[in-house]
């Protein structure tokens, strides 16, 4: 089992013929993702890497039942592309693009909320469940198994998920929330899904400094039946400096490493000091259950 999408999900890619879109389309197909259509304005009627192309999302939806869309669209055009997917009724929308203006993100994310669509990202590696990868997570990192992973950053997730896979511990789903100030989905949104997913035994939360998503997650973790292992990046980050991600900044004393560790520990989560400790802690929990 998995959350949000599974091997039967029908997937659309917006911006499918670009350099990034093409590269990751091939990777997604190799992973086993059922990519049923692509949108590339002006190229409708054509075929790209075996996938039929359409000029608009509405047109693609007329020909296929679409469960999820992945956007490889330049930042300046992302608002329009994401709204198009939302208005066409697609319920899971993955926005890989980074550097989308925050005013555009506010519109996308709030419209999705009204239309009951789940946004993953922006500025994310996407997500993966068994035979359904939506985004850019390296194929070799993922393996099927009992651990749910939700993270704000990409490469750190590859590091942790790759290590889990290497010692034979697989994942139900791996979800990247993205590093922006206004993410479409939060830790709490995903923790709720992992809590409800029968196959997930342990949840790994990979957070970082800035904002209060980890503190909110801690409140929810108090009510969870499943164990949570957390790792947070940014312990050494000075206040007021943006650590790569738009959201990774300690502002006015808020969003500190210490505050988040305290909240998560109090809530009963195990907090790892080093990324490799996550794997050790998960291993112990799996062995115990």
């Amino acid at each position: 089992m998995a959350i949000l999408v599974d091997a039967s999900s029908k997937v659309l890619i917006q911006g499918i013929t670009g350099k990034q879109g093409t590269f990751h389309l091939k990777q997604m197909l190799a992973f086993g993702t059922d990519v049923v259509a692509g949108v590339a304005p002006g190229k409708g009627g054509g075929v790209h890497e075996g996938v039929p192309l359409y000029n608009t999302v509405y047109e693609a939806c007329e020909h296929h039942g679409i469960d999820a869309s992945v956007l490889f669209i330049p930042a300046a055009y992302c608002k329009d592309a994401a709204l198009e997917a939302i208005e066409a009724g697609i319920k899971v929308i993955i926005i890989i693009t980074e550097h989308i203006p925050v005013q555009d993100e506010l519109i996308i994310v709030n419209r999705a909320k009204l239309k009951d669509a789940v946004i993953i990202g922006p500025n994310t590696f996407g997500m993966a469940s068994w035979k359904c990868k939506l985004g850019i997570l390296p194929n070799i990192a993922f393996s099927p198994g009992p651990v749910g992973v939700v993270a704000r950053s990409g490469t750190l997730t590859y590091e942790i998920v790759g290590s889990l896979t290497n010692i034979g511990i697989g994942q139900t789903s791996v979800v990247g929330l993205g590093g922006d100030r206004v993410p479409g989905s939060t830790f709490v949104d995903m923790l709720k899904r992992f809590e409800a997913d029968e196959a997930t035994q342990v949840v790994v939360l990979v957070g970082e400094i800035g904002g209060n998503a980890e503190e909110e997650a801690a409140e929810y973790i108090k009510t969870m039946s499943k164990p949570v292992v957390a790792y947070l990046a940014g312990k050494s980050a000075p206040p007021g400096k943006r650590m790569g991600h738009a959201g990774a900044i300690i502002e006015r004393g808020k969003g500190t490493y210490e505050g988040k560790v305290q909240a998560l520990t109090t809530a009963g989560a195990q907090v790892a000091t080093f990324p490799y400790e996550v794997v050790e802690k998960v291993q112990q929990l799996i062995r115990r259950s």
Partner: protein, 375 residues
């Protein structure tokens, strides 16, 4: 990107928010001239991004144009928190009856703009008592409706014309946030002076991701160090100078932070945060390595988990810099992922043995950074 106060006030004036009469100048003579034009006592304000410029002596008052010239010369000779003052704002001195705090920013957790206001302006908002602060989230699709602006005026105790002016200013601040892609529009203090409401200060921060469509706002890089400016010019994804002696490069913001944390936990001092980005290629990576060298570190530590980034690209970049420019300090590389074998082979040719585990590599980098200290 933080704007200087005078830029903020130019934006305010453009949107119709009342600001004191005045102008930005760069010499004492011009300051004298502006003071003469104003014909009233003036205030000379250093234009630096630091918040504490008043305490640092960067704000002076003058009653006559001659005094303004002297005061301006003093302020222009100053350095405020490491930044030499290059620009000053000469403005009419307001008769302040009371001070209000007001700001519009974006609350990421609430996924909404938020207005924060208080009848007690002048001081930092975080120093104020919770009960003195009024906070309201806005619906992005409704924006700031007039009824809400009016009610906020009531909640901070304003009546009559003052309430009307305040509500009008709020509306214009909201318009600035939306149309200028501002992450923060803050006025502290918003002053009541002779039955008028006037913005005595202006803090406007523009969303970095939206600068491409806000080209008329002058670019400010005063809060960047020289190496940070070099990194930006070289197109390095994301770089922050931190002052230690272990220069670090990784790919991805999360793993870069994780690498810095690990180095610090093992007792080392990171020189910088550098997220070289994904799929940067040989040329871009070579430029990034030269930025690391520009900091004169004792050790260079490169941590790559290759996804989009190819290990052979990173290795080729290192080999190129080593052969053509020279790397006078030890280099520790941890490298796994896409094209790992090829990367390791290329590095071996130039005498660098790559690590597989982040932990061992970080420990080695810290050890090398301390070599010679005991001697």
């Amino acid at each position: 990107m933080k704007c200087f106060e005078y830029t903020g006030k130019e934006i305010f004036a453009q949107f119709g928010i009342p600001v004191p009469q005045g102008r930005m100048v760069m010499t004492a003579e011009e300051a004298e001239q502006v003071a003469a034009e104003i014909g009233k006592p003036v205030v000379i304000k250093s234009q630096v991004l630091s918040g504490k410029r008043g305490k640092a002596g960067g704000i002076k008052f003058a009653d006559t144009p001659e005094e303004a010239k002297t005061a301006a010369a003093d302020v222009l000779a100053m350095t405020v928190q490491g930044h030499p003052v290059q620009r000053i704002l000469v403005e009419e001195k307001l008769k302040i009856e009371s001070e209000i705090y007001v700001a519009i920013t974006i609350d990421g957790a609430a996924k909404a703009p938020v207005i924060i206001t208080s009848a007690k302006g002048g001081m930092d908002i975080e120093e104020q008592a919770e009960e003195d602060i009024v906070k309201v989230h806005l619906d992005v699709f409704l924006g700031l409706q007039p009824f809400l602006a009016k009610d906020l005026a009531r909640r901070i105790g304003l009546t009559g014309n003052l309430a009307k002016s305040y509500a009008d200013i709020l509306q214009k601040m909201y318009n600035i946030m939306v149309r200028k892609d501002a992450e923060l529009v803050e006025i502290n203090p918003l002053v009541i002076s002779e039955d008028q409401v006037i913005a005595a200060d202006a803090k406007v921060t523009i969303d970095d991701s939206a600068l491409y469509r806000q080209k008329d706002i002058p670019f400010v890089d005063e809060d960047m160090t020289e190496v940070e400016k070099m990194a930006k010019a070289a197109g390095v994804g994301s770089f922050v100078e931190l002052g230690g002696n272990i220069a670090i490069m990784a790919n991805g913001a999360g793993i870069t932070m994780g690498t810095l944390d690990m180095v610090q936990l093992f007792g080392g001092q990171p020189a910088n945060f550098m997220d070289a980005g994904g799929g940067t290629g040989v040329e871009g990576t070579a430029k990034a390595i030269q930025i690391l060298l520009a900091q004169n570190p004792k050790v260079i530590f490169i941590n790559i988990f290759g996804g989009i980034t190819r290990c052979d690209d990173v290795a080729n970049a290192l080999a190129y810099v080593k052969k053509n420019i020279g790397i006078p300090v030890p280099v520790v590389v941890r490298m796994v992922g896409t094209n790992q074998e090829e990367g390791v082979r290329i590095l071996r040719e130039v005498g660098i043995e790559a690590y597989r585990e982040m932990k061992e590599a970080a420990q080695k980098a810290v050890e090398l950074s301390k070599a010679g200290e005991e001697a």
